[in-house]
């Protein structure tokens, strides 16, 4: 099995505080990986390194589809292949929903306006908000905004989708609609790396669950193994704190 993403010895520190202590991780084409762990464990930093939103140590190495992730010309190529969905949506507030989705294909891939619009409308349909296409992000609910953000990431037809706590900023009643869209995506063969606190979702959708703490991967495996038979004490106590209440 060839890995689409390889991460080796990933280290990252803010001053004297080390966030990631040399992470090694390979992610296969089409795999859905959920990263769980307490806040401050480095899980967001880990996925933000994959598209180099965070710089990392010079002796660390990440490749996506064979391209090394490092500053320079190749980085644009990596970012075109890697879509990202943020906790706070980060939609462009001065553009309509439709323009938000059309922008990157037109600017980065030089897609014709008419083609970009057609594809954007199809994507908005797919995430269930085609009737909001001409509204501005500020007029939408949080759940709708996050679905637009997913459509915007999909517009670049990425090989990998990164989700950085996509439901953490949402009102509880809107979490479901976003997770539903993500579940559907997981079935399409796109590689997904998801940082989440939604354990039920992780158990249902993930091919592999990774538990992180203190900048290390403590335990990784299929959801059934991690959730039902965790080996490490820290995994057990985390799951105990999250699940039994």
């Amino acid at each position: 099995m060839s890995a689409l993403i390889t991460i080796s010895n990933l280290k990252k520190a803010y001053g004297s505080f080390t966030v990631l202590h040399g992470i090694d991780l390979d992610i296969a084409q089409g795999e859905v990986v959920c990263v769980i762990g307490p806040s401050g464990s480095g899980k967001s930093t880990l996925i933000r390194c994959i598209n180099h939103l965070e710089a990392f140590d010079a002796d660390s190495e990440i490749t996506v589809d064979g391209i090394a992730v490092k500053p320079g010309r190749a980085l644009a190529k990596v970012r075109a292949e890697v879509g990202m969905v943020f906790q706070s949506f980060n939609l462009f507030p001065h553009m309509t929903v439709l323009r938000n989705v059309m922008l990157a294909p037109m600017r980065v891939r030089h897609t014709k306006t008419s083609d970009a619009e057609k594809y954007a409308r199809a994507l908005l349909q797919r995430v269930g908000i085609s009737e909001q296409a001409d509204k501005y992000p500020g007029q939408l609910s949080g759940g709708q905004q996050q679905r637009v953000a997913i459509a915007r990431a999909l517009a670049m037809e990425p090989k990998v989708l990164l989700f950085d706590e996509p439901t953490s900023a949402l009102d509880p009643e809107m979490v479901g609609e976003v997770l539903d869209v993500m579940k559907k995506l997981a079935g399409t063969g796109v590689t997904m790396v998801i940082v989440t606190h939604e354990m039920g979702f992780a158990r249902q959708v993930a091919d592999r669950v990774i538990f992180m703490d203190d900048g290390n991967i403590i335990e990784a495996g299929p959801p059934a193994q991690i959730f039902d038979q965790p080996v490490e004490a820290r995994t057990k106590s985390f799951l105990h704190a999250v699940l039994d209440h």
């Binding site: 970012r79 890697v82 943020f86 980060n90 462009f92 001065h94 980065v108």
Partner: protein, 223 residues
Amino acid sequence: MDLYSTFFNVPVLLASLPQLLSGLLVTLQIGITSIICGLIGGLFLAVTRLYAPVFVCAIVRLYIDIFRSIPLLVLLIVVYYALPFVGIRLSPFLSAVAALTLVSSAYTAEIFRAGIEAIPHGQFEASAALGLSNRHTMMDVILPQAIRIVIPPLTNNCINVMKDTALASVVAMPDLLKQATQAQALSANPTPLIGAALIYLILLWPMVVVVARLEKRYSKGKR
């Protein structure tokens, strides 16, 4: 002689009006040219400061600090009376526009920088994650939002540039103020000066009102 015929002498005013209006035209030419050049210069400086290597940023910073510190009148006199000694001989018009543009660029750069810094970091991150180049990030995402924020302070700066054009009269530029002082000398009556003051007011008062409105609207519109 009563106050009225001294300061509001209608025949004198009417006689000097053509001269004042030709002065107004010159004032507008200097003002508008300097405003446009200052906007372009300021935007260029602000974006340079964001993306250029460290030493270029330091030069830009230095430029901004110097031209915000130097009195415009001093700069204008240096440009017009001192530069000819090193062979740079600018016309009164170009001297005025050059001095105003140099200073306006510095202020405008600071305004744009503040506007760009007010845009949430997530907008830069989302643009980067989509693979947009720096140029497209600026043109499509950041500047359209930043410009909305900086319209009130920019308009304010435009008002200042327009007012400062009056300094051009010291380099023999036949602008509104210069024409008014000449008309005053000719008619031995200060009415043309009052006329010029009124024209400045009529020109700039609406802009001041507009700025106040814009500031109110944008502070209300903030989320």
